[in-house]
């Protein structure tokens, strides 16, 4: 009957197209607002500052230095990617996992303790991190399923419980004179993630390891799980309409708990790939939950809640966050980069808003069209 042609309407319907449009819009708006704020604070340095944030590692004139710091950004981005996958996964099932931050902390604690305290090899440390974080997520899931405790509340409380427990745990493996955990490279080299020869591509940046491909692989796996499997079909149905899920006999309580466990496991994996490459040590006197998990929320939304999209959004957010350290601190306080990325992150919320609005518009049009068709046939 009608030829298969890609109409503008059908093109706009495509989730990917919508997401990319919306995300780009948010980034632009965020940068604009950030620039305006810089202008207000100090008009002279505003342009240079925004450029520095955008350039990040390109700040270094030598290509070797630039590639090295590109590697560092990628390492951090891969941890962020896993955190954002954690948020995304839960969100698809109708849960808001603000506890990714706490699960990240649990993962850090488990991986470092297994590496430094128990001297176990890297793969066991990795597994321990995933398992411990999955357990932490599962607690919130079970509370939600059986006692209808809002997962946001239980997650936030668990974030703090996790932080102080991990501080206590890791105090047993800290250096004598500093509040930092002992470096893995001197205590237990076997706990460091295998490099797979990757540092050669990044001017010998030894922190680039298995973690990078692992994070990308996780994104692909999450996508496959959600889009291609029976399990994903069930989880998404539960998230979109839990009444209908119950009506057709899905076990919505089990789905809630399993979802939070997988979500927690992803955040834990994020912590493992970050701390097991040795790029940072844990500071056992920390009094705030690391921002990685919270930034994961932003990356998930900026990526349009698509696992593949989050690969790019995670990189972008890490890019500007790292870029912030190159801003001239003589003109601006050092927190300015956080402020700019906060603007962009804040505007990420509009990705969903924009999509909602666009879909309503298209639905309205489609309904009119189908009514016309039905009228014609009858």
């Amino acid at each position: 009957m009608n030829k298969r042609r890609i109409t503008p309407g059908a093109l706009l319907r495509r989730n990917g197209v919508q997401t990319i449009l919306a995300s780009l819009l948010c980034i632009l708006l965020g940068l604009l607002v950030g620039y305006l704020v810089l202008l207000v604070i100090n008009p002279q340095g505003a342009w240079d500052a925004i450029l520095a944030i955008l350039k990040n590692f390109l700040y270094y004139p030598s290509p070797a230095a630039a590639t090295k710091y590109f590697g560092t950004t990628l390492v951090k981005a891969s941890a962020l990617l896993l955190c954002s996958l954690s948020v995304l996964f839960a969100y698809k099932v109708g849960l808001f996992n603000i506890g990714a931050a706490g699960q990240f902390v649990v993962g850090a604690g488990a991986s470092l303790f297994f590496g430094l305290g128990l001297h176990l090899p890297w793969y066991l440390c990795l597994l321990a991190a995933v398992a411990a974080a999955a357990l932490a997520g599962g607690i919130s899931g079970a509370l939600k399923a059986y006692f209808n405790v809002n997962e946001v509340i239980s997650c936030i409380m668990l974030n703090w419980i996790a932080l102080y427990c991990v501080n206590m745990l890791l105090a047993t493996v800290k250096e004598q004179s500093t509040p930092y955990t002992r470096p893995l490279s001197s205590v237990n080299k076997g706990a460091l993630l295998p490099s797979l020869g990757l540092p050669a591509f990044f001017s010998g940046n030894e922190f680039v390891t298995l973690g990078l491909p692992l994070a990308v692989l996780a994104a692909v796996l999450v996508w496959v799980l959600l889009e291609k499997t029976k399990f994903g079909y069930e989880l998404k149905a539960t998230g979109l309409n839990k009444h209908a899920a119950r009506y057709c006999g899905m076990k919505e309580k089990r789905n809630l708990i399993v979802t939070m466990m997988i979500s927690g496991g992803l955040a834990g994996l994020g912590a493992a790939v970050f701390y097991l490459c040795g790029i940072e040590q844990w500071m056992v006197q920390q009094t705030s939950v690391p921002a990685m998990g919270f930034n994961g929320i932003a990356a998930a939304f900026l990526g349009g809640l698509n696992p593949i999209g989050t690969i790019f959004s995670s990189y972008f957010i890490q890019h500007i966050t790292s870029g912030g350290s190159y801003v001239d601190t003589g003109m601006y306080s050092s927190q300015i980069s956080d402020l700019i990325s906060a603007f962009i992150i804040y505007l990420c919320g509009f990705v969903l808003f924009f999509k909602l609005w666009l879909n309503r518009l298209l639905d309205k049009r489609d309904r009119k069209l189908s009514e016309k068709q039905e009228g014609g046939k009858a």
């Binding site: 029976k230 079909y233 149905a237 009444h243 209908a244 006999g249 899905m250 489609d366 069209l369 189908s370």
Partner: protein
């Protein structure tokens, strides 16, 4: 000419595709109790919304004390002294009775609440009308009857003259109902005008002075209660004209597929049981219809059968197996199909595509999921396409249309295709034609009859008497959570059914011998019936 407190004259309100009120007139005298009677969807709610300014009618006018007034929004209605007790109370659960009464009409001085003044007024009002309730009790601790009194006091506190009660007795115990009737009479005696919306004929006969009847949006008439009988009112409410005639053969009864014994389900709304010790059977090859007015336990009965709600007591047997404690999925795979009452809440995942919704009950079967847990998208597509073709489900983009973008009739067709194609032993259909146009209704009725003729058991829950009379082989009437009568549609009249549905009559004991109960009264109506019966041997 007599002055009316409020008059709605020749109101016509149209919505796309339907005339909700067609030339409706309602005249409320000062100091009378006026009942408004009509089936579900008769247009009562629309008429009240017009009175409260939520809708503007296309034609007609509203008069207060003989003068034409404009009501553009609920605030206008409040200013004219019109108040309403809604079926579901609008109370703040954790506030006291007094706080709820003054909420929105607080007396303040310099920003501080003058509660003592309010308390004096409330106490004097409750003494004047016999509305005893403790002003300091917290709403969540008091009975539904007391909550309703709070709602009534709210209207009186605002000096409302016209009091509307929307189905006020639905949630009350018999004693509370008696007390409410007395309160209403006290109010009327003090010069308040009362509009009493209900389905229950006995209550109208007891309390009202006059009654106006609506049917399918049309104004049927207003009668004096002293000149009428429940039978006459019932006839006015349900009408005599049967709209659709479904051709069907005589039922060929086979073995019992569903057996329910003493089923009891708790209510989410009130403390009584929603379903109270119900027993019945459905055989293969028959359509059993549960008739009744909305809110008499039909919804909970189906929740109990499908497993959405657990039973307080009793057993359910499906095809010889006790399924009382089985999970939902097991019941469904054992041959139960369920067309749910609320297709948006339960029947569909609106943001899923049509094909994903069509396999919602079968996606886990080996034909759609391989051993590794991956969905077989190709098979899903071809299965969905076949059903879309076979059941004529129309949509913008075929299998990949988001269901949210489809029309209500086609959404329902998709559910019916899904549930019938499962080849069930028992098909439970709850209000399957609600909100659909004539063509879709006819289609769905044909499908239900076809299932029966294929030897399935069909349990139909319907609020539409036409539907009940036309396609069922056996009728069970539910009233206040119990089955109050069992009838054969060939021998019972709609008037008779109406009396059972409204609680004016009930069988002493329900059983098969009841089936002929209405036979004596099937007089001229049945003779003139347009029913077409075809003998199986013809």
């Amino acid at each position: 000419m007599e002055k009316y407190a409020i008059e709605m004259l020749n109101i016509t309100k149209r919505f796309p595709g339907i005339t909700a009120n067609d030339n409706v007139t309602l005249q409320l005298k000062k100091g009378e109790i006026h009942a408004l009677l009509g089936e579900n969807g008769a247009g009562k709610s629309t008429l009240m919304s017009v009175l409260f300014g939520l809708y503007q009618p296309e034609e007609g006018e509203i008069r207060k004390n003989g003068e034409r007034v404009a009501i553009n929004n609920p605030n206008d209605a409040n200013e004219m002294g019109i108040g309403m007790v809604h079926q579901h109370f609008k109370l703040v659960e954790c506030f006291s009775v007094l706080d709820n009464i003054i909420l929105g009409a607080e007396t303040t001085r310099a920003g501080f609440l003058m509660k003592e003044e309010a308390r004096r007024k409330v106490v004097s009002l409750s003494e004047k009308y016999g509305l005893y309730v403790d002003p300091d009790a917290v709403i969540e601790d008091i009975t539904v009857g007391m909550q309703q009194r709070t709602e009534i006091l709210k209207m009186l506190y605002r000096d409302n003259e016209i009091l509307i009660f929307d189905e006020p007795t639905a949630v009350l115990t018999p004693q509370e109902i008696r007390e409410l009737m007395q309160i209403m009479r006290n109010l009327a005696a003090e010069g308040k005008s009362i509009l009493f919306i209900t389905h229950k004929l006995a209550e109208i006969m007891e309390a009202a002075d006059r009654c106006s009847v609506l049917r399918k949006g049309k104004y049927i008439g207003t009668v004096e209660i002293k000149d009428t009988t429940p039978e006459k009112l019932s006839a006015m409410m349900v009408g005599r004209d049967v709209n659709f005639v479904v051709e069907k053969k005589t039922a060929e009864l086979k073995d019992v597929v569903l057996k329910v014994q003493d089923m009891t389900v708790a209510s989410r709304q009130h403390k009584n049981n929603a379903v109270n010790g119900v027993s019945f059977q459905v055989r293969r090859g028959e359509i059993v219809c549960i008739a009744g007015i909305d809110g008499n336990g039909q919804t909970e009965l189906v929740y109990g059968l499908s497993g959405l709600e657990s039973l307080q007591g009793g057993t359910i047997t499906l095809g010889g197996t006790d399924i009382t404690r089985l999970p939902i999925r097991r019941r469904l795979t054992m041959g139960m199909s369920h067309i749910p009452e609320d297709r948006h809440k339960y029947g569909l995942v609106l943001d899923y595509t049509l094909e994903d919704n069509i396999v919602l009950q079968r996606y886990f079967e080996p034909q759609f999921t391989n051993k590794l847990g991956f969905l077989k998208r190709k098979e899903i597509r071809s299965y969905a396409s076949r059903l879309i073709e076979q059941y004529d489900v129309r949509s913008g983009q075929g299998p990949v249309t988001r269901v949210r973008a489809m029309s209500g009739g086609n959404q329902q067709k998709a559910i019916i295709a899904r549930e019938i194609d499962k080849d069930p032993e028992l098909l439970i259909a709850v209000q399957p034609t609600r909100g659909l146009d004539v063509g879709a209704i006819e289609y769905i009725h044909r499908q239900l009859v076809a299932q029966r003729d294929a030897g399935k058991g069909v349990l139909l829950v319907s609020l539409e008497l036409d539907e009940v009379m036309n396609i069922s082989d056996r009728i069970l009437v539910m009233y206040e959570g119990e089955i109050v009568g069992e009838f054969d549609p060939r021998t019972v009249t709609v008037e008779e059914l109406g009396l059972y549905m409204a609680g004016s009559k009930r069988a002493k004991e329900s059983g098969p011998h009841m089936a002929g109960g209405g036979a004596k009264e099937s007089g001229p109506y049945m003779a003139g019936s347009k029913r077409k019966e075809e003998k199986a041997d013809e």
